[in-house]
């Protein structure tokens, strides 16, 4: 059961100095960035997730040709989504067509084969489709994350920092955004979004999903601005903008990053849900959500068409969630290192002794 990290050696005598002593000892002489990095890297699951997600991103992004304006970077995968190779019939189970050639059995046909994930109805390479879909879904995820994060931070910090009438107006705006049911309005827009593509959809969803973050940041600012270091900065003659962005914001950065990861993990599922209802990404564009909803009936007949996009969605969302969890722990100032079993035992004895 060592799924998430190695059990550490007891800290022994350091503990006797009290809990805060451990924490202080640990972070002495380090900058915030260093502390966060250290703590983050101690979160095994988060590190694994970060590694996995980066690999997935690199894998997905390089698989197919990338066009940036006039520049074309060729991909390493042999098929594109435009190719329509012959449908494979040979040795497919139960009379199906276009079954995957991926074989992990080291003793027979080990390797990728021509179509490792199989082929769709008309013969397009499913690996290429999944890669293209994953690319779209990742793009949607990042656009929503950044846009919602940006708007949420700006609105939240202005609202929390200035308070009063500005706060009242902005918070009413947040209320307003919240009364517009995302799923219905996204569907209304999605009905027409077939014309403008997934980028528009992502931008639109980004414009709708920042409200929760804004409330959070506002609350942070409301409490942080009352603290002494803000007064100190003010006495030192710092401008409002400087106080807000140089002094207060860094203290809220943990909350922000964590919320943004949550928004991003949610975004990929929102896209999936909308595509399922036919209001999100629509053909001929491809996204993981669209693939999965298109092939949901394949489950009993051509399961590979159902599992692969699902696998990528779950992997991406899972990684983002774990990274968020790691960051939350890393940014939390009250966060202590994991107390080993022996320490817990010791603490228990102390409590008992005290009782």
């Amino acid at each position: 059961m060592k799924l998430f990290g190695r059990r550490e050696k007891p800290i022994g005598e350091i503990l006797s100095g009290g809990e805060s002593a451990i924490a202080n000892k640990e972070v002495e002489g380090l900058s915030l960035g260093q502390i966060v990095r250290r703590r983050f890297f101690r979160h095994r699951a988060a590190v694994m997730a970060l590694f996995l997600l980066s690999s997935v991103i690199v894998f997905v992004m390089t698989a197919l040709e990338t066009k940036i304006g006039p520049i074309r970077i060729p991909g390493w995968w042999k098929w594109t989504v435009e190719d329509i190779p012959e449908l494979r019939f040979e040795d497919c189970p139960g009379g199906t067509i276009g079954c995957p050639t991926l074989s992990v059995n080291p003793f027979s046909n080990f390797g990728l084969g021509t179509h490792p994930f199989g082929q769709d109805d008309i013969g397009r390479d499913y690996f290429a489709l999944v890669m293209n879909g994953a690319r779209r879904s990742l793009m949607i995820m990042f656009i929503i994350g950044f846009l919602a994060g940006f708007i949420g931070v700006v609105v939240g910090s202005i609202s929390g920092f200035y308070g009063g009438i500005v706060d009242a107006v902005l918070m009413r705006l947040v209320d307003f955004m919240q009364t517009v049911p995302i799923i219905i309005v996204a569907a209304v827009i999605g009905k027409t979004a077939g014309r403008v593509g997934p980028v528009f959809l992502a931008l639109f969803l980004g414009l709708l999903t920042w409200t929760g973050l804004a409330r959070l940041i506002r609350a942070q600012f409301l409490s942080l601005r009352e603290l002494e270091f803000v007064d100190a900065a003010r006495v030192a003659g710092a401008s409002n903008a400087r106080i807000a962005f140089k002094h207060i914001l860094p203290n809220a950065i943990g909350q922000i990053i964590v919320s943004v990861t949550l928004i991003m993990a949610g975004a990929i599922l929102t896209e999936t849900a909308l595509s399922y209802l036919g209001f999100g990404v629509v053909a001929p564009d491809v996204s993981l959500g669209l693939l999965i909803s298109e092939f949901q009936t394949s489950f009993t007949t051509r399961p590979w068409l159902f599992w692969w996009p699902g696998f990528f969605i779950i992997t991406i969302a899972l990684c983002v969630n774990f990274i968020g969890d790691g960051l939350r722990d890393a940014f939390d100032p009250r966060q202590r290192r994991r107390i080993s079993k022996k320490d817990r035992l010791k603490a228990k004895i102390e409590v008992k002794a005290g009782a």
Partner: protein
């Protein structure tokens, strides 16, 4: 306070006005309600266009048409709410009035169950921070967070309905599955208890053996064809429940409480046969409520018999034990309905449905058959909804409880020598509930509008289905009806959450004094 609420409501109405105007115009410009008709080869398509234009006032430009619609809505202040007609010539109010209870039934059961399970898992997870159980829960929560619900729905229908029904027609559990299932359960229990390696393995072995035997017994007796608990099993379970409730509620050192709980457990067994008679002859929700009241009353009497002082906690323990044991008897009765339910023509031997709210061809006055039918139709969508919202509750609860456990007053409570049970249940949990209570309001409101996909895949004609229909047929009045209701709920939910929070937590003031 009243002034504050009035002001909030006033602002909310303005917000609703703005957002409805926005949505109305967005929706009106998003599509042509006559699009399909324009392509119809029907003999009198032109006439139909004229009729529909007339009915939906399509000749009025949307921004102005909005005010026609608004006029009907504002009628609510003079008691004449008019939300317009749908394209299918039914009234929007009627459609909403039909859809709301459907959605509520689905969402209420699911969110309450998810909340309870989430609280339980979250609390254990926090108390056993960084244990195997905690890791497993965290991992599970994140996996659940990452699942598209319709994807889950397809799997649930395939395995829990179709395959399970197939299984029931020739029921027998293969040894292999008994083994695998027992292993899983054993891992769950042993990681729940935690402890040293030796303890882990002994719990594992115990749980494995118990499970294996139970599964084997179930298989051997074809229990899943004629399920039931029977008075003996109920007796054993009730005693276990009594001990468990007593240890959490008052601690086992409180002898009167323990005895009261055990007495309630004993009474549950004694009441088994009388309860059967009542259930069979007078099955109705009213009778069940009366029986519940009876249990509560007995609990009080029991508590006063066992103690002269400090009766509150004892009565609480007795009542909780009684209610849970009574629930077991209820469950037992529902289980007994299983065989006759399967045998009805409507069910035709396939009791787990994949679709709909009830089997309309099941025409019967039998309270228990109807009840079981409702339960069976609730099962799959409820599981799906629970799966997706459970994760959130586990994480929220864990986070909130850990936060509270770090507080100084917990340290103080421990320092003054309170035992761990009192510290957790009395000091920590109560404070954990504060933020969760206001979250629950928001989550619940969110689910009413957010169960769209669940409703769709499981064929429940609630709010979500209504919204989708409105969008797909460009039914503006219907869409606005749904949107307005959902936005009003959000506004009220926000207000309610704030009020609940301030009522529970004296530190928070809504009005600046």
């Amino acid at each position: 306070m009243l002034g504050y609420i009035m002001r909030r409501i006033g602002v909310s109405i303005m917000i609703l006005f703005g957002s409805s105007f926005l949505v109305y115009n967005l929706a009106a410009y998003a599509g042509d309600p006559l699009g399909e008709l324009r392509f119809s080869t029907d003999d009198n398509a032109k006439q139909q266009i004229i009729a529909l234009t007339r009915e939906l006032q399509l000749d009025v430009p949307p921004p102005l048409r909005y005010f026609l619609w608004l006029k009907g809505i504002l009628g609510v202040f003079v008691g004449k709410l008019e939300m317009g007609m749908t394209r299918e010539s039914s009234s929007v109010q009627g459609e909403l009035a039909f859809a709301i209870p459907v959605t509520l039934r689905l969402v209420l059961v699911a969110s309450v169950t998810a909340l309870l399970l989430g609280l339980a898992f979250g609390i254990i997870s926090a108390l056993r921070q960084y244990s195997r159980f905690d890791y497993a829960m965290t991992f599970m929560a994140f996996v659940l967070f990452s699942l598209p619900i319709f994807w889950v729905a397809v799997l649930l229908k395939e395995f829990m309905a179709i395959q399970f029904n197939n299984f029931l027609s020739e029921p027998s559990i293969p040894l292999r599955w008994m083994f695998i299932f027992s292993c899983f359960t054993a891992v769950f229990w042993s990681s729940l208890f935690g402890g040293e390696r030796k303890r882990f393995w002994s719990v594992f072995a115990g749980a494995f053996a118990t499970n294996f035997v139970i599964l084997w017994a179930i298989d051997f007796t074809d229990w899943y064809l004629h399920p039931g608990l029977g008075p003996i099993l109920i007796g054993f379970l009730s005693v276990g429940i009594a001990m468990g409730v007593a240890s959490i509620s008052t601690g086992l050192t409180n002898i009167p409480a323990r005895n009261a709980a055990l007495t309630m457990a004993g009474l549950a067994v004694l009441w088994y046969y009388p309860a059967q008679w009542v259930f069979n002859n007078h099955g109705s929700y009213l009778v069940i409520l009366l029986m519940l009241a009876l249990i509560v009353g007995t609990g009080f009497i029991c508590a006063s018999l066992f103690s002269k002082i400090d009766r509150g906690p004892i009565a609480r323990t007795a009542i909780i034990t009684g209610v849970i044991s009574g629930f077991l008897i209820f469950i037992d009765r529902v289980m007994q309905t299983w065989a006759p339910y399967r045998a009805t023509d409507a069910v035709n031997g396939r009791p787990v449905p994949t679709y709909g709210q009830r089997k309309d061809q099941l025409v019967t006055d039998d309270f228990w058959l109807n009840n079981l039918d409702t339960i069976m139709h609730l099962i799959l969508p409820t599981i799906a909804l629970i799966l997706i919202s459970l994760a959130g509750w586990i994480r929220y609860t864990r986070g909130a409880l850990l936060e509270v456990l770090n507080q100084d007053y917990i340290r103080t409570a421990r320092a003054k020598g309170l035992n761990e049970r009192t510290v957790i249940t009395r000091h920590a949990l109560r404070n954990t509930m504060l933020p969760l209570s206001s979250l629950f309001v928001g989550e619940f409101v969110g689910l009413i509008g957010g169960a769209v996909i669940t409703e769709r895949v499981f064929g429940w004609s609630g709010m979500g289905t209504l919204g989708i229909r409105a969008i797909n047929s460009y039914d503006l009045n219907l869409l606005m009806g749904v949107t307005l209701l959902l936005s009003t709920l959000v506004v009220l939910g926000n207000l309610l959450a704030d009020l609940v929070y301030s009522a529970l937590d004296p530190r928070i003031r809504l009005v600046k004094e």
